[in-house]
């Protein structure tokens, strides 16, 4: 059993919560479908987005340097970080040079990836998440379970209890409007008192030396409005050529992510205001290695919309916390394997190969196909599950010779005559929580055919092939 399957069994054991989690995310998928259906050129947009990303990724050095030149000319300061440690160090140095301990942060998966918040907290910087979902997770001391909807697995009653504990809100009040108002009231002080703003980057526009930050809560915009220092961190795959490309992505992003026509706030940062600074840290952290991986480089096209999570039937029924990588779902299975097969191969089983993720992806990433490909690589890396391997070897041995295959069926038929509970119990992984074994037929199709019974039943054994109902193609 994989790490995911063990954790998922625990999640699924709570049937009501599973139904609620599945239902909540299916609603998002359904909204996304309605949005996609409302744009006649939707499939052309997906194709354009995929092609723009492919083009940019195959000219990555050019566009990154163009971005750096133009951003610098606009008065921003651009930094390069090879890995997580270097990014954290650079951010730490910028903060130290500027002074101040109050950092207001909008959501960034890169910051999760590099462990930036704990790094800053350990150095006495009060890094506060300003996205409501992220703030809930920060106060719970739990990682986000979804990249767009970080607190999707947390019920409002749990949020009520949390706020009651940390902010002494009204006991037992879990009304969403009330809780949001309370969160806003407490965050307002953090916004007003912040010395430093930090954001991620959704798109870095090379030709303009500008970058776009998309939020629904306006928290990035408010956060960057007061402090004189804005630090933006970006993975190097976030660069795109120009504003025309941005127009393609902004049409796809929110529709795919949450089923909105556009994110509530799409802000462009181009030039620091007088007396203020904007620093952009461009981070590799394994991305160029991924780019060199021919089978899996498509992952770098990702817009981080989360549509693959919302559509994934396994993710919806197991929740983000059951995946060992910090990003869950089809995206996380793949990114985890790119990061370290040894550490994250326990997620590769979390896929029924339904390929819905590949169809919703606004950059047309072949997510499902890549999970299939990763499975093929596990055995070579010595990471295949021993029980599964044994089962496959046994199956393969039987299937290679018809005598063995049909002999095994005869044995199975005999086993099927045993009392119901002998096969149908929890020791049998097929049975699991209640799925009876199929019963072998008294005779195989092969045996029926050899006995002439199939053709006889159709009256075709005498080679009479009536041309009835046939239409010439």
């Amino acid at each position: 059993m994989s790490t995911h399957s063990r954790a998922a069994a625990r999640f699924v054991a709570d049937a009501a919560r599973t139904a609620w989690h599945d239902g909540a995310l299916w609603t998002v998928r359904a909204k996304r479908d309605r949005m996609a259906q409302s744009v006649p050129e939707w499939e052309a947009l997906r194709a354009a987005s995929s092609a723009i990303k492919r083009h940019t990724l195959s000219h990555l050095g050019h566009y990154l340097e163009l971005f750096e030149r133009n951003a610098s000319a606009n008065g921003m300061q651009v930094h390069w970080a090879a890995d997580a440690d270097e990014m954290n160090r650079i951010v730490g140095e910028i903060v130290a040079a500027h002074g101040g301990r109050n950092l207001i942060k909008s959501k960034s998966m890169l910051s999760e990836e590099c462990g930036l918040t704990p790094y800053l907290l350990a150095r006495g910087v009060d890094a506060v998440e300003s996205d409501l979902g992220e703030r809930i997770m920060q106060l719970l001391h739990r990682p986000p379970s979804h990249i767009v909807l970080p607190a999707i697995a947390v019920k409002r009653e749990e949020v009520g209890e949390l706020f009651e504990r940390v902010w002494h809100t009204a006991a037992g009040n879990s009304d969403p409007a009330y809780l949001t108002h309370e969160a806003r009231r407490h965050l307002r002080g953090k916004f007003l008192g912040a010395d430093i703003a930090m954001t991620g980057v959704n798109f870095a526009i090379a030709e303009a030396g500008a970058f776009a930050v998309c939020t629904n809560e306006g928290n990035a915009d408010l956060g960057t409005s007061f402090p004189d220092l804005h630090i933006a961190i970006m993975g190097l795959e976030k660069v795109i050529p120009d504003y025309r490309a941005l127009a393609v992505f902004t049409r796809l992003l929110a529709r795919s992510a949450t089923g909105q026509p556009v994110t509530t706030y799409t802000s462009l940062y181009r030039r620091p205001a007088a007396g203020k600074q904007i620093h952009v840290v461009i981070v590799d952290n394994g991305r160029t290695e991924s780019l060199a991986n021919e089978a899996h480089r498509n992952m770098l096209k990702c817009l981080r919309c989360g549509a693959c999570m919302n559509t994934c039937p396994v993710y919806r029924r197991s929740g983000g916390a059951t995946y060992s990588y910090f990003i869950p779902g089809p995206l996380g299975i793949n990114l985890g394997m790119l990061r370290s097969p040894e550490r994250y191969h326990g997620n590769v089983s979390a896929c029924s190969l339904c390929y819905s993720c590949s169809e919703v992806c606004p950059a047309k990433i072949d997510l499902g196909e890549q999970i299939y490909a990763w499975r093929q690589e596990l055995d070579g890396e010595g990471l295949a599950d021993a029980r599964k391997k044994l089962a496959v070897k046994a199956m393969n041995f039987a299937m290679r010779a018809p005598g063995r295959f049909y002999g095994a069926i005869a044995l199975g038929r005999f086993a099927g005559r045993l009392p119901h509970g002998v096969l149908n119990n929890r020791l049998n992984p097929w049975y699991g929580s209640g799925r009876d074994m199929p019963r072998f037929a008294p005779r195989t199709f092969d045996a029926l055919w050899k006995a002439g019974l199939v053709r006889k039943a159709c009256g075709t054994s005498d080679d009479s092939n009536p041309e009835k109902h046939r239409q010439t193609p």
Binding site: S5, D33, S352, Y372, V392, M399, R443, F445, D446
Partner: protein, 246 residues
């Protein structure tokens, strides 16, 4: 044209009646149908579990068994998809357009696209809920995936519309996975069975008497839960409906 009937391992062992119905349907359309004996497995279960290379001897075996046929036709969308997509990587001396992957069809696809009959002569006076299996939908195009913004069509529905008396409906989540997924069903059995129960609830809500589709593997998984939970619905492969009363 000579049609070779491809009967996947679990249909051979568990659902020979699906093989019989496949033969009956194709023969009723005036086709010259043969079944090369000694068939075992196409190799898909091993491949989906991460051992595609182990399926190489099985692919070679399939290629040999069906070398003499103009068309290879089987009643299982996902097995057919594996032959089409996997065999080019597996067959020794693979030649495009010359090997089994170029000649293999899922039976509904074959009847719908190649044979194109004007009528079937089948009769099935029941309400059925269509099970759009993932590989049939997203890999073979048996129907339009719900995720895409393209006009809806369904080859399975087209064929069922030629059957007298049948009433066709679809679950509200039209092509949500039922959770079978080959080795997934055992390795991730908790999620697999949960997905199956959810899918069955969706099928049951249509008020149908039968769940029908082009993949016996999905149906086998759901039937196991139906049997355990004693649900008032049955599974039936679509060829059993298309060939009923023939």
């Amino acid at each position: 044209m000579k049609v070779g009937l491809f009967i996947p391992c679990y249909i051979n062992a568990v659902y020979p009646e699906v093989g019989e119905a496949s033969y009956r349907l194709l023969a009723s359309l005036g086709l010259d149908v043969d079944y090369p004996t000694g068939q075992t497995c196409c190799g898909q279960p091993m491949a989906n579990a991460g051992f595609e290379r182990d399926a190489r001897p099985l692919a070679e075996r399939m290629e040999r068994l069906f070398a003499a046929y103009d068309y290879v036709v089987g009643p299982s969308a996902s097995c057919v998809v594996f032959v089409k997509e996997g065999y080019p990587r597996l067959l020794d001396g693979y030649r495009e357009h010359a090997c089994i992957d170029a000649r293999i069809y899922e039976i509904c696809e074959f009847v719908h696209d190649v044979v194109r009959p004007a009528k079937l002569g089948a009769c099935f006076p029941h309400k059925v809920s269509l099970h759009n299996s993932c590989h049939g939908v997203r890999k073979l195009g048996l129907s339009t995936p719900g995720e895409l913004n393209v006009p809806y069509r369904s080859k399975l529905r087209d064929l069922l519309e030629m059957v007298d008396g049948v009433e066709v409906c679809e679950p509200s989540r039209r092509d949500e996975c039922c959770g079978f997924g080959g080795m997934f069903s055992a390795e991730e059995n908790a999620v697999s069975i949960r997905m199956g129960r959810d899918k069955l609830r969706d099928h049951l809500a249509t008020g149908a008497e039968y769940i029908t589709g082009a993949d016996s593997s999905c149906l086998m998984h759901m039937q196991g839960i139906i049997d355990h939970d004693r649900l008032p619905i049955r599974t039936l492969h679509i060829v059993q409906i298309l060939a009923s009363n023939l």
